[in-house]
Amino acid sequence: MRYLHLVVTTLTGLLLIVGSLGMPATGDPDSPPSSHVSPRYIEQGYKETAVPNMVTFVLADYRSFDTLGEVTVIFTGAMAVLLILRGARSEAEE
C-alpha cells in the first residue's frame, strides 16, 4: 500500500507517453490542430474583426462565451473565498 501512489503515478505517466506517440510531431505545420479549425482564425479573423492580435480576437469574439465563463470563474473564486472565510470567525468555529 505504501508504494501504491508511486505505481499509480508511473502508470499514468507511461499511459500518457504511449498516448502521445499517436500525435503528430511538435511544430508540424500539417498537424490537425494547425490545419483544421485554426486557419480560419488566421486567414479571415483580421478581416472579420479588424483586430491584429489573434489571441485577443479568438478569446474575446469567436470564443467569447468561454471568456464569459472565465470571468465567471474568477468571480466565483472571489465569492467562494468570501463565503469560506469572511464572517467564519464569528460563527460555527466555537
Partner: protein, 502 residues
C-alpha cells in the same frame, strides 16, 4: 443557420449568472431582497427550461450560436432531449433546495446570506451551461464553475466539513484535469473542440493511441467526478459533513451532471461501437457499477449516521447508472438516464428529510429516531416515500428505472447483473427499513440528549418553507414513476444513438 434557433438556452444559462453578479451589490443595499431575487432567478430559469423542453419535444433539438459564429469556429449551445431532461431536473432540484435553504442553511451561517446565494446561483448557471453546451472546452469551463461552487458550499457545513471540502478539491481537480487532458489529446489529433465536428472526424482515428488514451482519461476523470466505486473517496465525507441542503443539491445535481457528461461523450461524441468493441470500456464500467452497487449498499448498512448512510447509498446508486451505461443497449441506456433523474430526485429528497430531522431534533443518529412518526409525521411519510422509491416499489420512479435496467441486463444476456440489481435492492431494503423501523415502531431507549449538534428550540413545528419542498419532491418522485412512459417517449427515445438499437 439551422431551423430551430431560439434564445431560450441563453435565458436558462444567463439568468442565474446575471442575478448572481447583481446579488453582492443588492445585498449591500438591502439584505432582505436577496433571497426573493435569487428565488425569482431560479424560477425564471426553471420556467425557461420548461419552455425549452416543450420546444425540444415538439420541434426537435434547439441550437444557438454564441456570438453568431457558426461551429466549429464559435461555441454552440445545443439542447436535445437528453439536455432538456437534465435542464428540467436541475431546475426542479435547485428551486426546491432554494426554497428549503432559506431556513436550514441560514440558521448555521446567518451573516453569509449574500455570498451563499451568489455562489448558489453560480452553481445553477454552471450546471445549466454544462448540460447545454456543445463544445468540449466550454464544458470544461462550466465543469470548473460547478466544482468551485460545490467546494465552497460543502465547506460551510461546520466541523470537519472543511477537511472534506479540501479532499474534494484535490480529487475534483484531478478529475477535471484528466478531463482537460483528454480534450487536449483529442484536440491534438482532430484539431477541433466542437462535439458534432469531433463525432464526424473521430471514427477515422479510432486506432490512434492519442484517441485511446484520451478516452481512457476521460472515463477516469468523470468516474472521479461522479464518485464511481474505487474513486469515491471524497463523497462520504463531503455529503455527510455538508449542510443538508447542500448535500441534497450536490447529490441531486453535481454528481448527476458528471454522469450526464459520461453518457454524452461516450455515446454521442464517440460512437457506441468504439467503447463496446474497440476497447471494452463498457464491460469494465458495467462490472465496476455492479461492484459499487453491492459494496456501497453493504457500507450503507454499517452506518448509524443517517447522512453517512445516504452518502454510501449514493455510491451504490451511481453504480446503477454506470451499469446501465455499461450494458450499452437501448433498455440499459433508457434505464440509466431514467435512474439518473429518479436518483437525483429521491436522494435529493432524502437529504432534505435528513436536514429536517437534524433541524428539529439535532441528531443524525438513526438509533435516536424513535417516535419521529408522531412528532414529525409528514417528514416520516416523505422519508417512507423516498425509501420506497430507492428500494424500487411501484408506482414510484425507482421501480421503472430498475425495471429498464433489468430488461437491459436480460437483453445483454448478463444474468449476473440481474442478480446484482435485485441483491442491491434487497440490501437497500435492509438499511432503509431499519430507519423506518426506528421512526415508526421503536420506543425511546435512552433519553440522553445528543451532544454533537446545536440544540433547537423545542416545540416549534418545522417551518413550511422546509416542509413544502420535501413534500413536493415526494410527490415528484411518484409522478416520475406514473409518467415514466411519457418521459421516455418524449426525451429519451428520440436521442438513443442509432447504432445502440438492438
Amino acid at each position: 443557420m439551422s431551423s430551430n434557433q431560439s434564445a431560450l438556452p441563453v435565458i436558462i444559462v444567463l439568468t442565474p449568472l446575471l442575478i448572481s453578479f447583481v446579488l453582492p451589490v443588492l445585498g449591500w443595499w438591502r439584505r432582505a431582497a436577496v433571497f426573493p431575487t435569487a428565488l425569482a432567478a431560479l424560477a425564471v430559469s426553471f420556467g425557461a427550461s420548461l419552455a425549452a423542453a416543450h420546444r425540444v419535444s415538439t420541434h426537435g433539438p434547439i441550437r444557438y450560436y454564441m456570438g453568431g459564429w457558426e461551429p466549429p469556429w464559435g461555441i454552440e449551445l445545443h439542447i436535445d432531449g437528453l439536455s432538456a431532461l437534465m435542464l428540467l431536473l436541475i431546475g426542479f432540484v435547485t428551486v426546491m433546495v432554494g426554497v428549503y435553504s432559506k431556513r436550514s442553511v441560514l440558521r448555521e451561517i446567518p451573516s453569509r446570506e449574500v455570498p451563499f446565494y451568489s455562489v448558489y446561483l453560480l452553481l445553477v448557471g454552471g450546471l445549466a451551461g454544462l448540460v447545454s453546451t456543445a463544445d468540449m472546452f466550454n464544458l470544461y469551463v462550466f465543469l470548473e464553475i460547478v466544482s468551485l461552487t460545490s467546494y465552497a458550499l460543502v465547506s460551510i457545513g461546520g466541523g470537519p466539513a472543511v477537511v472534506s471540502a479540501f479532499r474534494y478539491v484535490i480529487l475534483g481537480t484531478v478529475g477535471a484535469a484528466f478531463y482537460l487532458l483528454s480534450v487536449a489529446y483529442l484536440y491534438s489529433v482532430t484539431g477541433t473542440l466542437n462535439m458534432a465536428d469531433l463525432a464526424t472526424i473521430l471514427p477515422a482515428l479510432y486506432d490512434s493511441n492519442a484517441v485511446l488514451v484520451g478516452f481512457a482519461f476521460f472515463v477516469i476523470g468523470m468516474s472521479i467526478k461522479m464518485a464511481l466505486f474505487p474513486m469515491h473517496a471524497w463523497l462520504p465525507g463531503a455529503y455527510s459533513n455538508a449542510p443538508s441542503a447542500v448535500s441534497a443539491l450536490i447529490a441531486g445535481t453535481t454528481t448527476k451532471v458528471a454522469a450526464y457528461v459520461l453518457i454524452r461523450v461516450m455515446f454521442f461524441v464517440f460512437e457506441p461501437s468504439f467503447s463496446i468493441e474497440q476497447i471494452p470500456v463498457t464491460a469494465l464500467l458495467a462490472w465496476m457499477g455492479a461492484i459499487a452497487m453491492v459494496l456501497g449498499s453493504v457500507m450503507a448498512i454499517a452506518q448509524t449516521n443517517l447522512k453517512r448512510m445516504l452518502a454510501y447509498s449514493s455510491v451504490a446508486q451511481i453504480g446503477y447508472i454506470v451499469l446501465g451505461v455499461g450494458l450499452a443497449n437501448t433498455a440499459g441506456f433508457t434505464g440509466s438516464v431514467l435512474h439518473l433523474v429518479n436518483h437525483a430526485v429521491m436522494k435529493g429528497g432524502l437529504f432534505l428529510v435528513a436536514g429536517a430531522i437534524v433541524y428539529q431534533t439535532g441528531t443524525r443518529d438513526i438509533r435516536q429516531f424513535a417516535r419521529l412518526s408522531v412528532t414529525m409525521p409528514w417528514t416520516a411519510a416523505a422519508f417512507t416515500t423516498f425509501a420506497f422509491a430507492m428500494i424500487g416499489i411501484p408506482p414510484t420512479g425507482g421501480f421503472f428505472s430498475k425495471l429498464y435496467l433489468i430488461l437491459g441486463a436480460i437483453d445483454a444476456g448478463q444474468w449476473v447483473f440481474v442478480f446484482v440489481i435485485v441483491l442491491s435492492s434487497v440490501l437497500a431494503l435492509t438499511y432503509l427499513m431499519n430507519v423506518i423501523r426506528y421512526m415508526y415502531f421503536a420506543t425511546p431507549a435512552s433519553p440522553a440528549p445528543p451532544a454533537d449538534l446545536r440544540k433547537p428550540e423545542p416545540g416549534q413545528p418545522l417551518p413550511a418553507s422546509m416542509l413544502v419542498p420535501m413534500l413536493v419532491t415526494a410527490v415528484g418522485i411518484v409522478l416520475l414513476g406514473l409518467f415514466n412512459g411519457e418521459i421516455v417517449a418524449r426525451f429519451i427515445d428520440p436521442v438513443i444513438p442509432a447504432s445502440l438499437v438492438r
